[in-house]
Symmetry: C2
Subunit: 152 residues, 2 copies
Amino acid sequence: MNHVQEQARAMLATAVAEARAGLAEGGIPIGAALYGPDGTLLGRGRNRRVQDDDPSVHAETAAFRAAGRQRSYRGTTMVTTLSPCWYCSGLVRQFGISRLVVGEARTFHGGHDWLARHGVRIVLLDDPECAAMMRDFIGAHPALWNEDIGAE
Amino acid sequence: MNHVQEQARAMLATAVAEARAGLAEGGIPIGAALYGPDGTLLGRGRNRRVQDDDPSVHAETAAFRAAGRQRSYRGTTMVTTLSPCWYCSGLVRQFGISRLVVGEARTFHGGHDWLARHGVRIVLLDDPECAAMMRDFIGAHPALWNEDIGAE
């Protein structure tokens, strides 16, 4: 494992901890975190659709919000357990977040290729725990998952 | 003025009222609302960066959140005083919001062309009041505006 992968795995651990906490609360198990250019944790969060009855807080938005107002996102890394949907991909692109670490893209293939084409560095880890959490959740709660991604 | 334009202008009035309220609070004057297929107002809101010190609540997200959890967004209309940034464009695309009414795209040209290519019906009104509010705000607070769109 090279240095980039090692650092990405360490960041993913924070997002996975958020996803597990969400699952324990009865929520959709997706977690995320935003790291500064020097590796400092700026914010972390998880999907809050079930917990807060709030459709607008996907994990990436929760982490972005927790980081508070920032003058620049240059050099920051967003880490998420699952490939980001268009809403969260748009967040990464709009604010110029430099790098995206994705836990897995097997259960949902979001906008990370689009982000790569627009200059975001992507690290796709294909983590078995992230994939298993989502596969199990989608199997048990398909309607909730479809609601979360606007699928009918 | 045809029926579509007339209905769009009536919806825009709600978004403009939100933008004016935001301006009066010292905030960034962008407002939005989400309407159901039958024209019922589902939610309305405004940019809350300044008011709540929250970078994650653009006007479209505020309106989407205020509408609460919906099983489907088919047939809904998002109306916003300003062409939506990538974050808010991603929201519209991900959740399958069918139509987007844009107050103006002169002061900021966001993702509405991209949304049109992906099947969202766009009504661009080029409203003078929306444009004047943003032009004046950007002139008076350029740093705040740049922060809101992740520009350096």
